[in-house]
Structure formats: C-alpha cells, structure tokens
C-alpha cells in the first residue's frame, strides 16, 4: 500500500498536463521518486519547475526543432523503447546515419557525463546542442540556422505562453531556454519501478521469477563480474546524485574489436581516445545503464549486438571474435581490453537466468507514463512531417 500511495503522487504530476502554462509556472516541481532514491543533481541556472518540464516535453516531441521539420528528439528516443530507437545507429535529417547507438534516457539526469565517450559532455543542457546543431553527423540540421528555428517556435501560440511560464525573466525561445527546458524534461525521466525494484526495494518477494532470482545472484557474483561496472541504482559506474560528494564516471574497453592485434577499434569509433588523444583510451566507452535493457536492443556503442544473448556470449568469451571483414580480429586478445573482463564458463541455463534478471529491470510504468508521452495532436504543425523510427 505504501508503494501505491507514493506513486499516486506521480499520477498527480501527470494530471497537470491539462493545466495551462501560466498555472504551471506556480507549481513547484515534485520528483517522481520514492523516498529511498536521491534526486538527480540540478544545475544552479536550471532549477526544476513543472512549467519548464512541460515546455521541455513539448520541445522534445516537436520536429520543428529540425531544419526541415522531420526530426524531433523522439525520432531517435521513443518512449516505448525506453527512449531508444531500435536501430544500430540513429537516422538524422536527410537520412543521415549516425555514428553511435542512440542511448536510452531513463534516469539520464543521474549521469555525470552524457553520450558514449565524451569526457567533456557534462550537462544535459550542453548535450542538447549536439543533436540540434552538430554537423558530423547531421542530426537535426540547424547548424548556422538557429535564428530560423527560434522564429518557428516563437510563432506557435503554445510556446508564446509556455516560454514565459517556464522562464519569467527570459521568455523567448533561444539557446538558453530551449536547452534548459529540454534538459529539465530529460531530468524528469525517472525509472525506478521495475519488477526488480518491487522485489528489492518494496519487499514484494513474488515480483521476480525464480529464474530472475537465480540470475540476480549470478549477476552479483564475482564469477561473472557484471556488477563491477554495472553497479548502483542505475546499474552503471557512472553516477551522480544530489547526495554524491563527486561525480563517478567509468569508461571501459570491453574487447569488442581488435583489428590490428594492438586493440584498434574501427577508425570512426575509437571511443574516449577520439577526444583525449591518449592511445590507451582506444575503445573505451561509458558503461550504459541496464535499466529497461530488454527494450533497448541493439546493444553496444555501435549497435553491433542484436540480442542480450549475443551480449552475454561476448562476455562469456571475454571479448568478441570477428572472423572476417574489415573489422576482423579477436577482441579477447586485445591488450587494451579492461582487466575486469575475464571471460567465464556460464552454462546456457545460467545465461538464461541472467537474461531473466535483466528482463526484470524493465519498468512498464516508465514506458507508458503519459507525463513522458507525446503532447501534440496528430495534425499539429509540430508533428505533421515528423519521422519516427
């Protein structure tokens, strides 16, 4: 019962969707989190408010944020897939293929660093600039065309009240307000109500299948070492909460590639090394969260594993061996592979149990919560040309 009472609060937040932007401005923001969960950290210049989160949600689903009105954030981050897109790499404006797999956005406010391998991408506000204005690859195609984009938004009657409601002192669509509203909405994307949470946090002993319970014990066993990197409330060693003394980050080379016998990854995807220039950082990518992982296939930074079984086979072998093609090589023999990846002798039954545990991290409420859904009517100019995956 206490769980139901607590989560009723979230429905209350969702109910505010129907309110007008002006009334929302006065609403203090209430995190949709249970008492055991610390809130995400929030930058001083972007305090949360219900009005700002609602504005950010409208922007997130608005394809007028792209140069030709076809690409919105949702074009690569779909709620039903825990805000991923089901593709190996995303597709941006003019059919431009992305370089790395679109990451899920559940609990993204707890990540001290965003994207797969950028040690400088330290805020959601900053990160929003990349899909909006990046040109390698083009995602939303606004490079050099921000004035036109802001003019499109300013002409919409909803935004004419919503920006002033969210930013009383700064009531126009511009780089500051658009990036901050998008960040505020993303910080509101909280997923802590999976079957595993109910089992572990709320004492619902029958919330997990016997297979998932066995899988949990294997996941947290040193034989498999999963939890060394997939640790904590986000199942990632990248974590920062409002109670953290400092940001924790973790980048690892998992032995996916070993093209030259010296650990090389494909030249367009070298991981942390691309930005640090340090050869030792070849192939290091940020540990992804495992929440809702059953919904976020394909896997790895380049979407090169289609199923969780394939992922676990990779870790069983201690690296991936590619027999032929331009990326051929045995990742298990990479000198750059992380030392915590040692390979294991998991049986088929054990692999099935671990997958059952991973499936228990799916949060059905997260992918159906209307507070996270598309606010626009189907015939609205925000969405008429919008392409979805």
């Amino acid at each position: 019962m206490r769980r139901l009472a607590l989560w009723a609060g979230r429905i209350g937040v969702a109910g505010l969707v129907l309110a007008t932007p002006m009334t929302l401005a006065a609403e203090p923001y209430s995190w949709p989190i249970p008492a055991w969960m610390p809130a995400p950290p929030v930058p001083d210049d972007n305090r949360m408010s219900t009005g700002k989160v609602e504005l950010g949600r409208h922007l997130f689903y608005d394809a007028r944020l792209s140069a030709d009105g076809t690409v919105a954030c949702v074009s690569c981050h779909v709620q039903e897939r825990a805000f991923t897109d089901g593709r190996e790499v995303p597709v941006g404006i003019n059919g431009t293929l992305g370089i790395r797999n679109a990451p899920g956005l559940a609990n993204v406010g707890y990540l001290p660093l965003l994207t797969w391998a950028n040690p400088h991408m330290s805020s959601l506000e900053f990160q929003a600039l990349i899909p909006l204005f990046g040109d390698n690859p083009d995602e939303m195609g606004n490079n050099g065309q921000e004035a036109a984009m802001f003019a499109r938004l300013a002409a919409d009657p909803y935004y004419q009240t919503a920006f002033s409601a969210a930013f009383p002192d700064h009531a126009t669509p511009d780089l500051f307000t658009v990036t901050r509203a998008l960040a505020a909405f993303q910080r509101s994307l909280i997923s802590v109500d999976s079957a595993y949470d109910r089992f572990k946090r709320w004492g619902e002993k029958d919330a997990l299948s016997e297979a998932a319970k066995r899988g949990e014990q294997l996941f947290f066993d040193h034989r498999f070492e999963c939890y060394h990197c997939h640790s904590g409330i986000h199942f990632s060693d990248n974590l920062q909460t409002s109670r953290s003394a400092f940001a924790e980050k973790g980048f690892h080379n998992t032995g996916l590639y070993n093209i030259d016998g010296a650990g090389a990854y494909p030249a367009n995807n070298t991981g942390l090394m691309e930005l640090t220039g340090d050869p030792a950082d070849m192939g290091k990518f940020r540990t992804p969260s495992l929440r809702n992982v059953a919904l976020t296939a394909p896997y790895f930074h380049d979407g090169s594993a289609e199923t969780l079984t394939e992922v676990l086979e990779h870790y069983r072998a201690g690296g991936r061996s590619l027999a032929d093609g331009p990326h051929a090589g045995n990742g298990a023999q990479s000198p750059l592979r992380d030392g915590l990846i040692v390979g294991n002798s998991a049986t088929e039954a054990e692999v099935a149990d671990i997958i059952a545990f991973l499936e228990s991290l799916t949060d059905p409420g997260f992918i159906t919560n209307p507070a996270y859904g598309d606010p626009w009517p189907a015939d609205h100019p925000a969405v008429v040309k919008r392409v979805l995956p």
Binding site: W36, I233, T241, A245, E248, H252, P335, D338
Partner: protein, 277 residues
Amino acid sequence: MKYIAFAAAMAASPALADQAVSINFAGEIAGKPFSCAETFEGIGAKATAVRGIDYRVFVSGAALIRADGTAQPIALEQDGKWQLDDLALLDFEDGSGGCSTGTAETNTALRGTVPEGEYVGLAFNLAVPFDKNHGDPTLAAAPLNTTAMFWNWQGGYRFVRIDMVPVDKAADGPKGWFLHLGSTMCPAASKTEAPTAECKNPNHLPVSFAAFDPATNAVVIDPAAVVAEADMTVNAAETSPGCMSFPGDADCTTVMSKLGVPYGDIPAGAQQLVSKR
C-alpha cells in the same frame, strides 16, 4: 554548583581544549608515488612493469596513542565528502590517464581534532566497520555512496582497491591484476542482502605505530611487498582477476597473509601493506 557550571561550560566549548591533527598518507607502488601516468617496474614474482588505474582505501577508527598506551580517537572533521563519523576514504587517483573509473578529486590525509595533550603513537584500521559495511549504498552518506568502492550488500565495501595493469600483456593472459581487500563469507540470504552477523572473514587490517609524529611522519601504503610472490601476468581460471579476497583463488594464496589476514588454511602473517616514514 560552581563545579557543574564549569563542567557545562567546558562541554559547551570543547574547541578550547582541542588541537587540530592531520595524518598524512602516501599511496605508492614499489616506492614511487602513485600516479595514473606512472609505470612501476619490477612488480610481483615475475618483476612485471605495471601501470596503476585505481588506488583508494578506507580508514576507520584512527586514534593517537598516549605514552601510557591509551588511545585517543581522532574526531574527524565531518566534511560531507571524504570523512563520515570515524571513517574516511583516501583517494590517490585523479581520474586522469588510465584511471578511467576514477574521480578528479583526491584525498590523502585524515583531518580532525584531539584534546590537547601529549601523544606518541598512531593506530587505525584499514576497513569499513561491520555496522557501516553492509547498508544500502543508495541511501548512504558520502563517502559510502561511492560505487567504485562497493561490492554488494552481502560483501560490503572494498577496504583496499589497488588496480594494476601489466604494460605487456599476453594475448591470452589477463589484462589486469587487481588487489581488493574486503570481508568475505558473510552470512546473508542473498548477495544483495545485508549479512545477519559478522562475516566469517572480516579481513580488517589493523595498523599501529608505537612512535608516530603527525608533524613529521607519514603513513605509507605500498602493495609491492604484498604481491611480491604473485605473478601479475596470470590469473587462476574462473577466479577474479588478481586477488579480490574471495576464498579459493590461487592468486590470493601468497597475498592475503601479507595483508595480515588468514586465508583458508594459511595463517595471517605480519601485514606488509602499510608502514611509516
């Protein structure tokens, strides 16, 4: 009455009678200060060159020792970051270079106060005490919410985390040799539940120096002697890479006794991880 009033005044302003104390620690490998950029030569049974990618330890129960042998606990400054009650996290890595799971901030000293007096020695424990070791890390205050030091609720925290990676790695060999000290065989119903009683192997590492002057001495941590008989280039099949304290790991048999703890049938030896200078 006068006496009571005086005592109350003393209790209300203990700072008058306190002196600040700072205990400096040095994290080293084979006598060289730890750095994420450094190569350390001649480590282990095969004299392997290694790089260090993590170096953090928990210290608890630190006390200064009087000439009569009595211990005066150091009241650690509660900084909301590194020090909590009588526990502190020491962190010698700065997140640079190969330390890609680290933090930019470092912490190499205990900071606190003791009542004014004459002290001659120092004692502390390289461990997280049992009553703090198995709580919910998502609810814990810093530094116990540091995921990098966490195992699971049953096992608690790593008291010592010194991660070394051989410079030259065999293609089919391990890619790292990690020294993790923590409690094992803790009686819990599950790996994600707190144990109901103290672990069979608490693996605490108590340290004391009969003579220690905080103004001139430093505590030196160095794993080189501890791993002197271990081969940094091999890992026993189906075990954790390096020695992570778990029973039945051949990589631990020469190591744990040198941390001053018993391991299976092997009795504890003198600890060789911590010294002073």
